[in-house]
Structure formats: structure tokens, C-alpha cells
Subunit: 431 residues, 2 copies
Amino acid sequence: MTQLDIARNGIISSEMNIIAQKEGIDPEFILQGISDGTIVIPANINHKGIDPCGIGNGLSTKVNANFGTSSDIGNIETELAKLHAALDAKTDTVMDLSTGGDIPAIRRAILNKCPVPLGTVPIYEAGIAAIDKRGSIVDMTPDDMFDAIENHARDGVDFLTVHCAVNQKTIARLKASRRLTDVVSRGGSFLIGWILHNKRENPLFEQYDRLLEIARKYDVTLSLGDGLRPGSLADASDRAQFEELLTIGELVDRAREAGVQAMVEGPGHMPLDQIAANVQIQKSTCKGAPFYVLGPLVTDVAAGYDHITSAIGGAIAAAAGVDFLCYVTPSEHLALPTPEEVKEGVIASRIAAHAGDLIKGVPGAWEWDLEMSKARKNLDWDTQLKLTIDPQKAALIRARQTTGGSGCTMCGNYCAMELVSEYLGTPKKVC
Amino acid sequence: MTQLDIARNGIISSEMNIIAQKEGIDPEFILQGISDGTIVIPANINHKGIDPCGIGNGLSTKVNANFGTSSDIGNIETELAKLHAALDAKTDTVMDLSTGGDIPAIRRAILNKCPVPLGTVPIYEAGIAAIDKRGSIVDMTPDDMFDAIENHARDGVDFLTVHCAVNQKTIARLKASRRLTDVVSRGGSFLIGWILHNKRENPLFEQYDRLLEIARKYDVTLSLGDGLRPGSLADASDRAQFEELLTIGELVDRAREAGVQAMVEGPGHMPLDQIAANVQIQKSTCKGAPFYVLGPLVTDVAAGYDHITSAIGGAIAAAAGVDFLCYVTPSEHLALPTPEEVKEGVIASRIAAHAGDLIKGVPGAWEWDLEMSKARKNLDWDTQLKLTIDPQKAALIRARQTTGGSGCTMCGNYCAMELVSEYLGTPKKVC
């Protein structure tokens, strides 16, 4: 039974209980959300030792960190280093997007060390294996695709990105949309190439029930991928993007009917004033399915700093109701990230998630800021450093200039809060 | 004559012409904006060699970088290094907030090397000099304050932060507001301490005409400071903040009547869903005066990363109509910034400003992203690196893993854009 089946039977699973406790929310609320499909728990029955994580309506916004090899670079050791960097920075989930080296071995090594939900994109492995076996990605067979999916599921992957809605109709709309940066989703491009070359329908769409069977067997959560994710501001919110979204919405319905948990992936590059509308339309067309966005990146021009462009978009998205943020690192658009950049990406996304949680009214979000500001008012540096999002970095900055005074070197002897409380007669210490 | 006087005489000054050219806007529009007070040109008649910069309605969002010594740390050399870091990162203006060492000498050394508008907060110098001369900040005389202001103006400072609206009424409202982090503005705290200790009205409020005379003489732009800027999310948008804003609005009117250019400073720590409302209320109550915000910081908990919390708030603010963003560095709340952190702060604010300009429809903003995305689609790396916000950092990231392929190491052989254009039949190159 999947978590969805369990919830529909009115049973609160141990995973639901753990999540309720972590989120400070009534387990009945979690049960109802899972039953309705507005909350998912990506927890493959074969992922041993997973610490369950809930994603969706009413819960804190979660953060995902991507890593993985490419054909150019990376191996098990480099990717495990990135896993640990991401976990140290308190990511909620990770995705292994490896497309180079021994992909199954890397995945298994990561799963073995991964207490958080792990996601993958099995079409990468299927496409790359097809190059070796048959000469080209477009020579993949439908069985190659489903075999890869089943292998990932059997290994214990908790959520799978599957580009099921890239189909003949979506591609027709894509062509009519006359985009600047047609397709920037790798998985999407594999399938679009396959569909056009073979003049056949997308097997993941055509044989969606076969996919649902696998997902149900292992309780894999489907992350319905947006192969037509806009790759530039110019392409944001276009007809191609929404055609795919409408189809995804239908596939959400079918997943729920089959007892399979599903969430929905979204943009991408997007001007900041379009983000809230996109969230609303996703929520309405996908009947409240958890929304998982990449960024959004609010400008195209900041390669080297796309963790910041994404933090801007991610905060706005989270505040508007997005449930799950996929991080972007400073090396996006340029190279694979280093472990240090993985950390920077996770922290930037966690800031965005928390900025959104403050608006959503997530339990505990406001209290965190309140405790920090009380410690700031009290010039209680130990508590400030403990409460900050990255205590290690904050301590390093403070340590390099500590003067022994009660304030910090920024204001030296002229700490506004210290100066004024004497005259205002307000308490020196608040609690 | 100030730029405001000149504009009111219907004359387009050389500064207005230069700004019109830089912004790609009709000089008549600049003239009208200055005449209405919705645009300012901070350009002291004594600041030799300044490259004029316009701030306000219809223009691109500008970015300011703060630096300066504290009583603990810094000297002329350290602060000149930060000036150069800020200029290299393409800040639009800088502020010298020195409160340690030989403050006038630091200011003059900076002015001497500063092609962009320079701002200062003269009350720092007045207050700190009063400690030496008279024993305490609260022993400042009104003449001390105005002498400092006149000295800064005479030296050639282009815009002065003056906390004129911190007065008896504002303080009464502050007390009744029962804030968590009463006052976090240093200048504000100097004046509030002075007012309460001496049981007198704020001389900068009481003798505002005297301030206007000085400003008019040198064409110094007044930056009407918000001494009651919220220092925590808990204090955002409270009655104390808006009491001060209403008074600032009245002082804007009086500045305009006196032929003095004025802009308005704003928050501060603020939940992201309050930012747009704050911009609207500032614009309405201050009759379209340019709005200059610090951040806003959308959470209190990210010391070490407050350039990111501020980029989130700044982007939302700029999109909502804010004209001028004061950067925040990663060391905010912890220590004075290093030159590298100055750079990080400027770049983060420039990203925020540009994300806002895309929404405001600032001339050239959309075209920048379009050119970048065309270069990305064309896999034209030279143009991508040239167009990115920090070409040096982007080139370093790309260089560390270059493979000689047409794509990047992120996707290696499986570049989505490359894979799919073959099958879609879309052009390999766009222009």
C-alpha cells in the first residue's frame, strides 16, 4: 500500500506521524492532505533508513539539491561529497541527475548514504544506455524506458521525474509557440527527439498505466516533469508551457485514481511578476497537487549568481503557495557545481523557502525570526549565532573582527540599539 | 541654482542630457521628472569630475554601496579598497558611513577618487566629535550638527542622509508602538538620545529651513532618513514607521518649495508581502519622491547571507516602484564588510534592481535578457560571458571545467538545446 492508499483507509502511518511531529501539525491534517493529494510523502518502500519528509499544502516549503555526474566530469566520490555538502546545509531532499560514469553504481552509493528522499530522472539512464546498446538516444525502446524506471524504483528512489506530458499535442503547441530557447529540459529533449524521430507517441504518456503500476508497487512519488519549462524570460508563461501543464493536471488525476502519489514540476526562467499567477494556475489545473519549481530565475543575465536569481523567484513562489523549491547553484548555466556551490545553493533556497513560509503562516516560521530578533536586541551573540541559517559562516565573519565589546565591529561603540534603550527607557533585555 | 531650479526654468542641464543619454530616455522626460520632484540628480556643485546619475521615476533602479570605518576598524586604505571594489562591481553610488579614525580625511580621500555620487550621514561626525569636545553624543549642540552638515556639503558630498523626521511626535508614537527592536538606525539613535536627554525638539526638524539653505547652496540632495526603520520583521509597517513617513512627506514638500532635491529612505526588515504596500504608501504620501530602501530584508534569520535576503526584498521593491536600492553585504549584523563582500553586495543588489527593471519596463532591461538568451541558444560562450552580470566570475566557473565541447560540463554531451533543435527543425542560430 502507498501512503495514499493508507491515508484513504483512514490510517495514520508512522511516516505521517513523524511528519506531523516535525511540522508541528495535527496528524489528521497530514492524513487528509495525503488523501486529497495535496501532500505527498516520497518514501520508497525500498529506501532503508529514510527520514520521511512531507511536501505540500500547509507544510513548510521544502528544498531540493541536485547533483550528479555529466559525461565530462564526476564520479562516486565527487557526488558523495556533494551529497554531504547538501545534507550539512540541511537540504530536505536530493536528486541524483548523473549522466556520466556508472550511473546505477553512483545512484546506489548515494542511496546508501542518503537519509533524505532521493529523486532521479530515469530517462537519462535509458537514453544514455541506448547510445551504447543501439547507437543513439532516439533508438531507445519503450522497454528501455520502463526498465530504467523499474530499476530506479527497485533500488529505492523516492521520487522520479517523468516527462509524461511531452506528447504529440504538446509538441505541436511548442512548434506553434515559436520559442526563443525551445527546450532546456534534458529529459524533455530526450523524449521530444525520440517522439519526432520515431514519429510515435511518448511511451510514458501512452503507457502511463504501466508507469503507475511501477510507482504503486514501490510507493514511488511521481514528479511530473515539465519538459517545456521556459529557459528564458522570453518564453515564460507561453502556450507550450500551459499546454503541458493542462496535460500534467490530467495525469495527476489518473495517478490519484491509481493510488499513486504525484507532484508537479514547474518553471524555470520567469519575470517576477508572472510567478504568483503561475502558482495559482498550477494549483487550479492540478487540483492542489504539490508544486515543485526550479528557481524560478527572475533574470537570464546572472550566470555565476543564479542561486540569487533563484532565491528571489523562489521566495515569491513559496509565498504564493509553492511547496518545494529546487535549488540552483552559482555554477548553473556554466558548469557542474562544487560541494561549496552545492552548499551556497541549498542555503539560498532555504532562505527563499523560509521567506515564503513567513507569509504562508507555516507553524514555527514567525517564531524563528522573533527569537533571532530578541537575541539581536539583547546583543546575545551566542543565541544569534546559534539561530542563524548557517551558524558556521556567521561565526567566521563575526570572529574575524571581534572586539570584545557588546556590539559588533559594524557599529563599534555606536550600537543604535544600545544607545537608544537607555533614553527610551525600554528594557535592555527582552524575552 | 540647483538642478531643480534649472528644470523649473525649463532648461535642460548638461547633467540632465547625460542622464537622458545613459538611460535612453527623452531629456524632456528627465526635465519634467526633476521639476516634479520625482527624479533627483545628486550632484554637488563641488564634486569635481562626477559622472551624473539620475534616480527616480522612469529611470533604471540604482544601487548604492555603503562602507566606512567604525570605531573598531578601518582606515583610509581599507575604505578606498572598498570604494574600488564597489566601483568595479558597477555600483551607481556609494556612501561613506565612517564613524572611526579621521572622518573628514577619509571622506575627502574617497571624494577625490569617486566618480559616482557620494552620500554621507553628517550626524555621525557631529555626534562623535561631541564625545571628544563635550563628553557625550547627547552634548552635541545644534551648531555642531549644522556645522557638520555644512562641512560635508562644502566638501562636495552629493546626498546627505538627515533624520529630520525623528521628532517629539515620532518618538511619542514610537513609545506607544512597543517595538521589539526599538531603533536600529545609528543616526536615528543619536538624535533620539539627544532629544530625550535634552528634552528639546530635533534641531534638524526645528531648523529645517537652515538645512534647506545649505542644501540649496551646494545642490546637495536630501535623503530624508528613516530613523525608525524597522529592525525586525516584528516591527515592520508599524505606526512608528508610518508616523515618521508622514512627517517625511511634509518635509519633501518643503524641500521642493525651497528648490532642494529630496528623496526618501525606507525599510528595513519586512515580510515580503508587505513590500509593495509600503512602496505605494511612500509614493502617495511623499508625492512621488524617489524611494531609497535598505534591503528590504525579508527575514531576520540569515546573518551571513543578508545580501540574499536583501536581493529578494529589493527585487520585489524595485518591481513595485522603488527607485534606489541600498545594498546589504553578507557581513551585515556581524561585522564590517571586506572588499570581496562589498562586491558580493553590489552584484546581489544589481540583480535585484535588474529583476525589478524588467517589470518596470525600463528601456534596455528586457533587451539585455533577450541578448543573453539568444547567445545561450546559440551556445555562443563569448557573448554569454560578456553579457553576464559579472563576466569575471562566470569565466572562472566555466574555465575550471571546460571540455572543448560546444556545451558546458553541466550537461556534457546531452545539451537539451542542441539535442532538440535538430528534431524540431528550429534554427540552430538565432539573431
